[in-house]
């Protein structure tokens, strides 16, 4: 009997030490109203996720227990990720007179392929509750863009398609800074402490004000090397969120727009050293 017990303990040890079998700790039991509303506009479009997993270079080993094999279950992380990718790919109006930037910019920033916006990258997910996203440069192979629990747990303010996609932009812009060798600060790519008008800690950026139409669609990556034509990660995120809130395609649900505006306005008032950044839209309740 004793050898059998030892063998069983060994089985448990073997499985618990196997990293590939680690379970995700993010809450995958529900989806926010904004996620569900957007989801209902495509009803789990399979052709899209069979394209987007390649466009975002998502790997089975990273997403296995996050809905890779249950890709139509909106409660899980992989489906929530591609729901956000769907918003980026189809959800913006690209209005020359009103939008900050266009789908061509936001797609190139979020997607994996190397371009004028960043070197190639891949998307994975992490189980940390204290981070939204991270960008990790790798010496060999593509860089790593990780999104974490607060972008997926329905209870979190950022667990909606706009905010999640906004983080693709934010982290993608760290990729831009890395590609062109810009120093945006030594605290995770941001300025340390709570400088100037910023109220966050170790997460502050400058806002580089520019007019509407200053960048042709597809030209967001451009800079003249001065503050006159430059962007920071939080700024790109705010501009994307404002475009979702104010100039989406006609079918984008209001819950998605409301959540995007709320995130943009909160970020614009709290994350900039020379803030506040722009406020998007009127403060009419609906």
């Amino acid at each position: 009997m004793k050898p059998f017990r030892t063998f069983i303990i060994g089985v448990i040890l073997a499985f618990s030490c196997n990293a590939n079998m680690a379970l995700a700790v993010c809450n995958q039991s529900s989806a926010s109203a904004a996620d569900s509303d957007l989801w209902n506009t495509h009803g789990c479009w399979q052709a899209f996720f069979l394209w987007s997993y390649k466009a975002y270079d998502q790997r089975q080993s990273d997403w296995n227990n996050r809905g890779w094999n249950d890709a139509c279950n909106v409660n899980l992380e992989f489906p929530k990720h591609w729901n956000a990718a769907y918003l980026v790919t189809y959800g913006l109006q690209d209005n020359n007179s009103f939008s900050w930037h266009g789908t061509a910019d936001y797609r190139a920033l979020g997607e994996a392929a190397g371009s004028n916006f960043h070197s190639s990258l891949y998307h994975d997910a992490g189980d940390t509750a204290g981070l939204f996203g991270s960008f990790t440069p790798h010496i060999f192979g593509p860089n790593e863009l990780t999104t974490y629990c607060p972008l997926y747990n329905a209870t979190s303010a950022n667990a909606n398609p706009g905010s999640r996609a906004g983080d693709f932009m934010h982290e993608g812009w760290h990729g831009w800074l890395q590609k062109y060798n810009w120093n945006n600060g030594s605290c995770g790519g941001h300025r340390c402490g709570t400088p100037g008008a910023c109220t966050a800690k170790d997460a502050c950026d400058y806002f580089y004000f520019h007019g509407v139409g200053a960048y042709a669609f597809g030209a967001l990556y451009q800079t003249d090397g001065t503050a006159n034509r430059f962007h920071s990660p939080n700024q790109v995120q705010v501009e994307f969120l404002c475009d979702v809130a104010d100039y989406p395609k006609s079918w984008v649900p209001n819950s998605v727009r409301l959540a995007a505006r709320s995130d943009a306005d909160a970020r614009a008032s709290a994350r900039f050293i020379n803030g506040p950044g722009y406020k998007c839209g009127n403060p009419r309740p609906w």
Binding site: T6, F7, G10, V11, A14, S32, A34, D37, N40, T41, H42, C44, W45, Q46, F49, W68, N69, D70, A71, F78, Y90, F98, G130, P150, A154, T155, A157, N160, W182, A197, A200, K201, D202, A203, C204, F207, F209, G211, V212, T223, G225, A227, F230, S250, W251, S255, L258, S262, D265, A266, S269, A270, N274, P276, Y278, K279, C280, P283, P285, W286
Partner: protein, 282 residues
């Protein structure tokens, strides 16, 4: 010897797992994502059908009112920009129905820690209703203390920021009432809310609802924090504002506030090379 046998037995499963299963796994190449759900229709067809979905009735008393209010929140949440007018008209039409307004108010409180985006929808609807009962609900909502403990992320407490964002939405509703009592609450929030997010929204909403007149500027200026006076001039990209108009405002703002001009960005240290080549020959 006995302990050696014991160790060997304990290690056997691990050895088998690492020697056997991974070898098998290597033979299977990664598979694309999958589902057991059968393929549905094209989104282009789905969105056309959704746009035709009729709004639910927003009336009734007691339990019926509650049921109807929840169904209306579902519909409004999924509604589109083109349906904004209908949402506004319907909620305004129900402003005197205490059961409806209270049911939406209850949903905002119930969902604030469960589903942030649904709570935002509910608060937006209460604000748009412009009702006395709604005002009491929103006043109660902004009086909730912000959590001082919780999940710390990127320099903020997530639960605190989440509630502040919802309170900012409640402030929009209070300011939209445009009456003395609600205005007092908005000005108080602009001055004293512990969250910059709420203070900023209170300033923006108060000014917008008073057409940015000189009097409202003065009232706010006399109470808000000194380092937040710049929020009185904050650039607002109004809905559907032509770019020429916004760009003119931006030029004026940058001229009036030269202190907001950021410094030029700096180049980082040169990147380390991936390899420094072979070591010198011995």
């Amino acid at each position: 010897m006995k302990s050696m046998t014991k160790s060997a037995l304990a290690l056997l499963p691990a050895l088998l797992l690492h020697a056997g299963l991974p070898a098998y796994a290597h033979e299977i190449s990664p598979q694309p994502p999958n589902t057991i759900t059968s393929p549905g229709r094209q989104p282009s067809i789905i969105v056309q059908e959704l746009a035709k979905r009729p709004a639910p009735v927003l009336s009734g008393k007691g339990e019926e009112a509650k049921k109807n209010a929840l169904a209306f929140i579902d519909w409004a949440s999924a509604s589109t920009k083109a349906q904004d007018g209908m949402v506004r008209e319907m909620i305004a039409g129900a402003r005197e129905n205490a059961d409806i307004v209270m049911a939406i108010c209850d949903e905002a409180f119930v969902k604030q820690e469960v589903d942030h985006s649904r709570a935002l929808v509910a608060l937006s609807l209460i604000g748009e209703a412009k009702s006395q009962i709604g005002m009491e609900c929103l006043a109660k909502f902004i009086s909730q203390p912000l959590p001082e403990k919780g999940t710390f992320a990127e320099g903020e407490i997530l639960e605190q920021t989440a509630l502040a964002m919802l309170q900012a939405k409640a402030i929009d509703g209070l300011a939209y009432l445009r009456n003395e009592k609600a205005d007092r609450l908005v000005v108080e929030a602009a001055a004293k809310s512990p969250s910059r997010i709420v203070r900023a929204e209170a300033i923006a909403a108060y000014l917008w609802n008073h057409n940015y007149d000189a009097k409202s500027q003065e009232i706010l200026k006399s109470v808000i924090q000194k380092d937040e006076v710049i929020f009185l001039d904050r650039l607002v990209k109004q809905a559907d504002e032509p770019k020429e108009s916004f760009n003119r405002k931006l030029a004026t703002y940058l001229k009036t506030h030269p202190e907001v001009a950021p410094p030029n960005a700096e180049k980082a240290e040169p990147k380390p090379k991936a390899t420094v080549g072979r070591p010198p020959k011995f």
